[in-house]
């Protein structure tokens, strides 16, 4: 149920004054937040729906959440412990699982989000509610998986006797930056795939490259030169390294790289959200 507060006169953007632009942005943000608040129940329901469906349709249920990072950890452990050993500060399986866990959250959220609008054509063209719900619930579902898979990390830390220190208190900040970045990308990708259907194929390729361009399965200090700079500039590297710092190394994250990732995500989310929100009314026509 929605409340239309006023007539919304619709016209093309013809804004000359900065003040008017700021005013419009403020109105947009108010509307965006208000809609999310009004439909908060739906976000929960949609997330619950996707989790429930997976439970119903697969024997493994939430086991899926553990499968991918665990399997990848085993594979990379074989490669980086037997074939081409690398030097890590903590036992390699722990190092890799921590990275893969974080990466998996972003990758699965985005995989889910990229088709979240196009897979629900029926709903997009026939009923109204804020469309952000689709990518948001994709991220929320992956966040649940992330939490489930994190229990394995805790178990591994106990096994390897890596006790968290006080820096674990910074964990919520790391998760917040990580989730914000993922949300921003989820909004962007779901919208892009609605307008251009080959985005999901291109995205799969990008995701593959991106994983290896982030310090997920190897330590970032091992690489120098241009490649090293690219990897260090990558916000996912900053996020993954931040997890390792606060959980495994017991040190605060690198202020420069984590700080810039935080600033990037805080700028990116409102930007993509506003763009998404303003394009929403064209979704039904273009899907």
């Amino acid at each position: 149920m929605r409340v239309a507060y006023s007539l919304h006169l619709v016209c093309r953007d013809r804004l000359s004054l900065n003040g008017a632009l700021m005013q419009r942005l403020r109105n947009d943000f108010q509307e965006m937040i208000r809609e999310q608040f009004e439909f908060r129940e739906l976000l929960i329901q949609m997330t619950a729906r996707d989790l429930l469906l997976r439970y119903k349709q697969t024997a493994m249920g939430l086991g899926w959440a553990l499968l991918s990072p665990t399997l990848n950890t085993i594979i990379f452990s074989v490669i980086f412990m037997r074939v081409a050993p690398v030097d890590t500060r903590v036992p390699y399986p722990l190092f890799a699982y921590c990275g893969l866990l974080a990466w998996n959250f972003t990758a699965s959220a985005l995989r889910f989000a990229v088709t979240s609008l196009t897979a629900n054509t029926n709903m997009v063209t026939k009923v109204y509610f804020p469309r952000e719900i689709f990518p948001f619930s994709a991220v929320a579902v992956s966040l649940v998986d992330f939490a489930v898979a994190a229990t394995v990390l805790a178990a591994m830390m106990m096994y390897y006797h890596v006790a968290p220190t006080a820096t674990v208190l910074l964990l919520p900040a790391v998760v917040a930056v990580h989730a914000t970045l993922t949300l921003a990308l989820a909004l962007m990708l779901s919208m892009a795939n609605l307008f251009y259907r080959d985005v999901k194929y291109i995205f799969e390729l990008v995701l593959n490259v991106w994983m290896f361009a982030s310090a997920i399965v190897y330590p970032v200090d091992a690489i120098g030169g241009v490649a090293g700079m690219v990897i260090r500039a990558n916000p996912m590297t900053a996020v993954v390294e931040a997890y390792r710092h606060v959980l495994l190394y017991g040190t605060p994250p690198d202020p420069l790289s984590f700080g810039s990732a935080a600033i990037l995500s805080v700028v990116l989310l409102p930007t993509t959200w506003v763009v998404f929100h303003r394009s929403e009314f064209r979704f039904a026509e273009n899907i």
Partner: protein, 412 residues
Amino acid sequence: MGARRVVFDRVWKEFARGERHDSLRDLIPAAVKRLRRRGQHGGRDTFWALQDVSFEVHAGEAFGIIGRNGAGKSTVLKLLTRILKPSRGACAVIGRSGALIEIAAGFHPDLTGRENVFLQGAIMGMRRAEISARFDEIVSFAGVEPFIDTPVKRYSSGMNARLGFSIAAHLNPDVLLVDEILAVGDLAFQEKCQARMTHFRSQGVAIVFVSHHLPAVAQLCNQVLLLEQGRAAKIGTPAEVIAAYCSGHATNEQEDVAISATLRTRVPAGNAFAADAFEVEPGDPLMLEVDVHFRVDVERATVGIVVWDLTRELYVYGASSDFVGIPPIRARAGDIRTFNFRFEAHLTRGLYAIEVNVVDLDRQRFLAVARGICHFHVREQVSYDGVANLYLSGCDAAAGRALHAARPALAR
């Protein structure tokens, strides 16, 4: 008049025709092509789905929208629900709105009925507590109690529709936007839907009702808009607008004869046939005045009257002038003759159309067929299906005396 609930103010809506470039791969060559063609080709290939349409609906009113497929009916509702935005003009719903555009659109086939009720409720903006409170009512209204824990993919389409409608019908809206929900479900369910909407209306809910089902529109609405190719062709009472819509379908197949006709009913007070008939009670006498303008010479012609039931697309009745004592008509080109017929509407509720035809008896052909030249709407509450009104009533077993007079006192 209640508060304004729906405002549609000079709304225009433009859609792109032509091909959409929905992949990046196609976008690049298309952009190049567009650059080359610039100047030769004017604007984009678009069409107007709605052109300058305005209306208002107040609390307690029901506003019907009729028109052929593609006239823009559903576009109006999609604009009101904010699925689409107008290209020009403004539209708004003031208050809580419940949309029945596609009643089961949010259903997921793998979830059970119960789970879908909560999901669909949330889509419509209900809180979980609200849905829980009305859950039993929703399920029993839909009549799916035994299957509520079955995935909806195993539901029949009727059950799907019933459950979808039931959820929407238990919202607490100020405005109800209804699109063609009567197309699914059996007659009993359609009755239920209509009763529910009538109830909503009496509770002060404003209703916008899009339907091809003209009898339902006539029954529910107090104002009707006829859309023709995106334009408001007519707006007014159901009688006027439905007549205008149907006369759009009225065909004079042969041009040898022009027919016009007026349907009258008795004015409530007196005995004269004066009032233009549209709303009639079962058994009401009706008078049909037919003017026939001959454009050819005819030796022996008859005028035929046919009544169609628009609800069920049935041929209800047919008779012709030569069997009711009017001698075969002899006319010269240019003659205008007037004939008066009388009949009684012993019919069940529904919308009926009258066809008048003129037949040349010697050549055995129609000189003219005027379909849907007049319409009338029979109002009654006893029957739920059928065409002929047999005036069912409860009665005293011994004497066979009616307990309640169901049959109207007929004018003989």
